[in-house]
C-alpha cells in the first residue's frame, strides 16, 4: 500500500498494486481452482511413464480384447457392434460378443474418438484407447473433490483430490495403456456414490435421477456394479436402524433403485439379473422395507393413538418379514432366483474358490492380500484411515455414515482379493483426507487463536490478578505455537514422503506393459524383450488366414487382436470344458494330444517359454494349473502323475509323464543343445534353475514353425495325418 506513493511516474493511476490485491473470497477461489487444475494435470502425467519409456501401446491381456472391440465399433458402427457374433475365438463354438461384454468402455472411447475427429483432430483409435484411462483418472480427482466437500468441507475435498491423483492403488489399473474396464468404472463408481449422497442430503429428485444415470454408466462399464447395488441398500438399512429415516432418504433410494434397475436391464449382458439373481435381492428387500416404513409413518399420522399404533406396528413388521421370507424361499427353491455366482460367493466365503473353482483360484489377482500389498498401495493412508474414521464418528451425519460404510466394506473385500484394492482406494483416500484436513485445521487454529489473546490483554490493564493470569498464558503461548509449527512441518514431511513413495512405485512396479519385458543387462543397461509382438506378427504374416492357433487361455486375446488368427480358448474363460480340453492336450503324450488337436482342427500351437531369459511367468510354471483344470473335467489327468514326492520338477528326477508330455516337449525342443549361462551345462533352464531331464526330444506330429529371438514364444505347426498305406 506504500508503493502508491513511492514513484508516481512509474505507476499509472489505472494500474496500481492496490487493484491487484484480491478480497479473501476471491483469493480462496483462485487458490482452490489452481490447486484443482494442478491436481488434474498431475493425475494425468503421473500415469505416462510407460508411454515415455517404451511407446504408446496397449498393455496386458484383457485390454487387447477391449481394443479389438473398440476398433470394430469405430469401423462398423454401433448396431453391428451390438449384434456381433465372433467366430474367430473359441473355435468351434464362437462367442456372442454383443451379449457378453460390458460396452461402457468401448462406447466411451469411441465417443471421444468421434468428438476428436469432429474437431478435425485425426488421431488413431489406439492413441485414444491408450490415453482413456489417465483422462478418466483426472476426472475422478474432480469428483473426489466434490465428494470430499459433501462429506466434510472444501479442505478435505482438495486433499482427497490430491491423494487420489497419485495413490498407487488406483494407478495400478489406470496407467496409460491399461485399457481395461476399471479405468472408466472407478470414475462411474465415485460419481454414482457422490450423486446418491447428494440426493440423500438434499432429497431432490434431480440428484436422485443423476445417481440413477451414474449407476447405469457403472453397469455398462464393469461387473463390479454388484458392489453398488449391495452397498447402497446396506447403507439405507443402517440409516433405518440408527433412526435416520426421512423423506429425503425415501425419495433418493426409490428413484435410484427403480430407475437404475430399469436402465441396467438395457445392457444385454446384465439382462434380467436385477430381478432374478440372488446378488441383487438385497436391494429389492430394502426397497420393500422402505415402503413398509413409509406405510407405517402414514398410519401413525392417521391414527393419533399410540397404543393402537404399537399393536399395528408389531403385526405389520412381523407379517412383512414373514411374507418377504416366504417369497425369497419360494423364489430360491423354484430356481427363479439364481444363487450367488462363484466369483462373488468367494468374496463372502474366501475358502470356497480354493476348493471348488480352480480357474478362479489360479488367477494371481484373486489371491488374498498380505500386509505388504496394503503398504505398497497405500503407504501413509494406512495411518490416516483409522484417524479419519474417528473424525467421522465424532461428527456423524448421513454423508459420513456412508463413507464409513463404503470404506469398511471395500477394505474387507480388498483383504479377500488383491485386485479389489482398486475399489477401496477412493474410500481410503477420502477418509484419510478427512483426517489430514481435521488435524491441520486443529493445528492451524492453535496457531491463530493465541494471537488475539495478547491484544485483549494489553488493552485491559486493570486488575493485577488478570494481568498475572495473562502473563502465565503468555508464557505457554510460544511453546504451543512452536509445537504447532513443528507438528505442521511433520505433517508436511509425511505427505512429501507419500508423494515420493507413490512416484517410485508408479515408476518401478506399475508402468510395465506386460507384453514388452525389460531387464537390466550385465553393464546396467536396459534390455528390451519384444518377443510377444514378434511372434504375433509372424503369425499374422506367415500363416494362412483361416489357421487356428491353440495356446493356453492367457494369450487368446493378444493372438486374436495382434495376430488376427482364430484361437481355441481365450481370457474370457466362459467355457471351462473347452479350457480343460486344451489343458488335457497340453498335458498328454504327443499321440493323444495329436488326436485332440485334430478334433479341434488346430493348425498351430503356441507356447511361452522362459528358460533362456529367466522369465518366470511362462507356461512351464503355469503347467500345474493346466493339469488341475484339465483333471477337473477329465479324470484321466491326475496331478500326482506329474509330481515327484509332491514336488514339481523338470530335471532328471522328474516323473516320466512330465518328461514326455506335450508341453514339456514343445518348450524344451532343441533346448538341450543350447548354452544359456556361462559355466552351466547345456540345457540349463534359467527360470527353474535346473538342468532339464530330457534333452533328446523328437517330435512326431508337430514341427517347429518359429521361435522368437529370445526363445520366449515358440510356435509349432501341426502336421496333417500321414497317408495310410
Amino acid at each position: 500500500m506504500g508503493a502508491k506513493k513511492a514513484s508516481p511516474d512509474l505507476l499509472n493511476s489505472s494500474f496500481s498494486f492496490k487493484s491487484l490485491k484480491l478480497k479473501t473470497k476471491q483469493q480462496e477461489l483462485l487458490l482452490r481452482v489452481s490447486i484443482l487444475g494442478l491436481v488434474y494435470v498431475l493425475a494425468f502425467i503421473a500415469r505416462l511413464f510407460s508411454v515415455l519409456r517404451y511407446e504408446s501401446m496397449i498393455h496386458e491381456f484383457d485390454p487387447y480384447f477391449n481394443y479389438r472391440t473398440t476398433l470394430f465399433l469405430t469401423e462398423k458402427g454401433f448396431y453391428e457392434f451390438w449384434n456381433w457374433f465372433d467366430s474367430e475365438s473359441w473355435y468351434p463354438l464362437g462367442r456372442i460378443i454383443g451379449g457378453t461384454l460390458y460396452p461402457g468402455l468401448m462406447v466411451t472411447a469411441a465417443l471421444i474418438y468421434w468428438t476428436l475427429r469432429f474437431l478435425r483432430f485425426f488421431v488413431h483409435i489406439r492413441e485414444v484407447c491408450v490415453l482413456t484411462a489417465p483422462f478418466f483418472a483426472s476426472n475422478t480427482t474432480i469428483v473426489a473433490y466434490f465428494f470430499g466437500k459433501e462429506i466434510w468441507d472444501t479442505g478435505a475435498g482438495l486433499v482427497a483430490a490430491a491423494l487420489i491423483a497419485i495413490c498407487p492403488g488406483y494407478i495400478s489399473r489406470s496407467v496409460a495403456g491399461s485399457y481395461d474396464n476399471e479405468a472408466v468404472a472407478i470414475f462411474a463408481l465415485l460419481l454414482t456414490f457422490y450423486l446418491f449422497v447428494k440426493a440423500v442430503k438434499t432429497g431432490s429428485l434431480s440428484w436422485a435421477l443423476g445417481s440413477a444415470f451414474g449407476y447405469f454408466y457403472m453397469v455398462s462399464a464393469w461387473g463390479g456394479y454388484v458392489f453398488i447395488i449391495n452397498l447402497v441398500p446396506l447403507y439405507v438399512l443402517v440409516l433405518l436402524i440408527t433412526g435416520r429415516y426421512s423423506m429425503r432418504l425415501y425419495v433418493a433410494y426409490n428413484c435410484m433403485y427403480i430407475l437404475g434397475m430399469l436402465l441396467a436391464m438395457q445392457i444385454r449382458f446384465v439382462g434380467f439379473q436385477h430381478v432374478q439373481s440372488g446378488e441383487h435381492m438385497g436391494a429389492m428387500g430394502v426397497f420393500l422395507l422402505m415402503q413398509v416404513f413409509y406405510f407405517l409413518d402414514w398410519v401413525k399420522y392417521q391414527l393419533n393413538d399410540t397404543k393402537l399404533f404399537q399393536t399395528f406396528l408389531r403385526i405389520t413388521v412381523t407379517s412383512a418379514i414373514l411374507v418377504g421370507g416366504i417369497a425369497l424361499g419360494v423364489g430360491t427353491a423354484s430356481g427363479y432366483i439364481s444363487p450367488w455366482t462363484g466369483r462373488f460367493y468367494s468374496l463372502l466365503d474366501p475358502t470356497y474358490a480354493k476348493d471348488h473353482i480352480p480357474i478362479i483360484a489360479s488367477v494371481s489377482e484373486h489371491q488374498p492380500t498380505a500386509w505388504s500389498s496394503f503398504m505398497f498401495d497405500y503407504h501413509i493412508l494406512l495411518f490416516l484411515f483409522p484417524a479419519g474414521l474417528y473424525f467421522c464418528f465424532k461428527r456423524l451425519s448421513d454423508a459420513t455414515i456412508f463413507i464409513v460404510m463404503y470404506g469398511l466394506t471395500s477394505l474387507y473385500f480388498a483383504g479377500v482379493m488383491v485386485r479389489l484394492i482398486l475399489v477401496a482406494t477412493p474410500a481410503v483416500c477420502l477418509i484419510s483426507a478427512i483426517a489430514v484436513s481435521a488435524t491441520v485445521k486443529n493445528l492451524t487454529s492453535l496457531l491463530r487463536t493465541k494471537q488475539k489473546v495478547p491484544q485483549t490483554g494489553s488493552t485491559k490493564g486493570v486488575g493485577s490478578s488478570k494481568s498475572s493470569s495473562k502473563v502465565t498464558l503468555d508464557q505457554s503461548q510460544p511453546f504451543q505455537k512452536n509445537g504447532a509449527i513443528a507438528l505442521l512441518v511433520g505433517v508436511f514431511y509425511l505427505l512429501s514422503r507419500y508423494a515420493i513413495h507413490c512416484t517410485w512405485v508408479t515408476s518401478e512396479a506399475y508402468s510395465s506393459p506386460s507384453i514388452v519385458l525389460a531387464a537390466r543387462g550385465a553393464h546396467g543397461n536396459r534390455i528390451i524383450f519384444d518377443d510377444y509382438r514378434e511372434a504375433y506378427y509372424w503369425l499374422r504374416q506367415n500363416t494362412p488366414t483361416d489357421a487356428k492357433v491353440m495356446s493356453w487361455w492367457d494369450y487368446g486375446y493378444q493372438i486374436t487382436a495382434m495376430g488376427n488368427r482364430t484361437v481355441i480358448v481365450d481370457n474370457n474363460t466362459w467355457n471351462n470344458t473347452h479350457i480343460a480340453t486344451v489343458g488335457r492336450a497340453m498335458s498328454s503324450y504327443e499321440d493323444e494330444a495329436y488326436d485332440i488337436m485334430r478334433s479341434l482342427d488346430v493348425n498351430y500351437v503356441l507356447v511361452v517359454f522362459g528358460g533362456v531369459t529367466g522369465y518366470s511367468s511362462d507356461d512351464i510354471n503355469k503347467f500345474l494349473w493346466m493339469v488341475r483344470i484339465g483333471g477337473g473335467v477329465y479324470p484321466v489327468i491326475k496331478e500326482p502323475d506329474y509330481l515327484v514326492n509332491g514336488e514339481f520338477r523338470v530335471d532328471k528326477g522328474a516323473s516320466p509323464k512330465m518328461l514326455n508330455c506335450l508341453m514339456y516337449k514343445l518348450c524344451y525342443y532343441r533346448f538341450g543343445e543350447l548354452v544359456t549361462e556361462y559355466g552351466k551345462p547345456t540345457g540349463y533352464d534359467r527360470a527353474r534353475g535346473v538342468e532339464i531331464g530330457n534333452k533328446d526330444i523328437k517330435l512326431e506330429h508337430l514341427e517347429e514353425a518359429y521361435t522368437t529371438s529370445n526363445w520366449i514364444v515358440r510356435i509349432y505347426r501341426v502336421k496333417p495325418p500321414t497317408n495310410r498305406l
Binding site: I241, T242, G243, P350, T351, K354, Q367, P368, T369, A370, W371, S372, S373, F374, M375, F376, L382, F383, L384, F385, P386, A387, L389, Y390, F391, F393, K394, L396, V404, L408, L411, Y412, A414, G415, V416, V418, A435, A438, T439, N442, L443, L446, S476, G483, L487, G490, L494, I500, H501, W504, E508, A509
Partner: protein
C-alpha cells in the same frame, strides 16, 4: 417354581364352576392335578429391546476389525503360511528363523503381518490422541501427556513401518 401350600378350598371352589362349562377331559385332568396346589406366578415378560451402542464403542470394534484385515488375517486363514519361516544356514547347518517372507510383495508369515498391522494401528491411534490433546475441556497436564503420547506413537509407528518395508522389499526406493 416352589409349590404353594395354598388353601385348596378356594381353588376347588373355582375349579368346580369351570368344570361345569368345559367338556374336555384333559383340561379337567390338568386343572385338578397340578394346578390344585400350584399357582403360576405373575410374570412380566418384555421383548428384549435393543439400544444402539454409542458411536465410540462401534468405533473401537471397527478399529479391531481394521487391525485384523490390515495384518493380512484373511491371507493367513486361506493360504495358511507358517507363523515364522526358517532357512538352513549353508555353512553351519543350523536352522535360522526368518521373520519376513522375501521374494514377493503379496506373501507374508503370520507374525510379520500382525506386527506390521500393530504399527499401522499405533500410528492411527497417535493421530487420534493428537486430536484429543487439542480438546479444550481437559486439564493442561492431561493435554500435554496426550500430545506427547500421540506424537511418539506416530513417530514410532512410521519409523517401524518404513523399516519393515525396507526389510521386506530389498530394492525399496532405489
Amino acid at each position: 417354581m416352589a409349590p404353594r401350600t395354598d388353601s385348596t378350598s378356594t381353588g376347588s371352589a373355582m375349579s368346580e364352576t369351570s368344570v361345569e362349562s368345559s367338556i374336555d377331559p384333559l383340561f379337567h385332568i390338568l386343572r385338578t392335578i397340578p394346578f390344585s396346589f400350584l399357582r403360576p406366578p405373575r410374570l412380566r415378560l418384555k421383548l428384549p429391546s435393543f439400544t444402539l451402542p454409542s458411536p465410540m464403542t462401534v468405533f473401537s470394534l471397527i478399529l479391531l476389525t481394521y487391525f485384523l484385515v490390515i495384518s493380512g488375517f484373511i491371507y493367513d486363514v486361506i493360504v495358511e503360511p507358517p507363523g515364522i519361516g526358517s532357512t538352513q544356514d549353508p555353512v553351519t547347518g543350523a536352522i535360522r528363523p526368518v521373520v519376513f517372507m522375501s521374494g514377493r510383495v503379496n506373501g507374508q508369515y503370520i507374525i510379520e503381518g500382525l506386527s506390521s498391522g500393530f504399527m499401522f494401528v499405533m500410528g492411527g491411534v497417535g493421530i487420534i490422541m493428537l486430536d484429543l490433546a487439542l480438546d479444550k475441556n481437559r486439564a493442561k497436564s492431561v493435554k500435554a501427556s496426550y500430545a506427547t503420547a500421540g506424537v511418539s506413537s506416530i513417530v514410532i509407528g512410521y519409523v517401524m513401518s518404513m523399516l519393515f518395508i525396507r526389510i521386506k522389499i530389498p530394492g525399496y526406493l532405489h
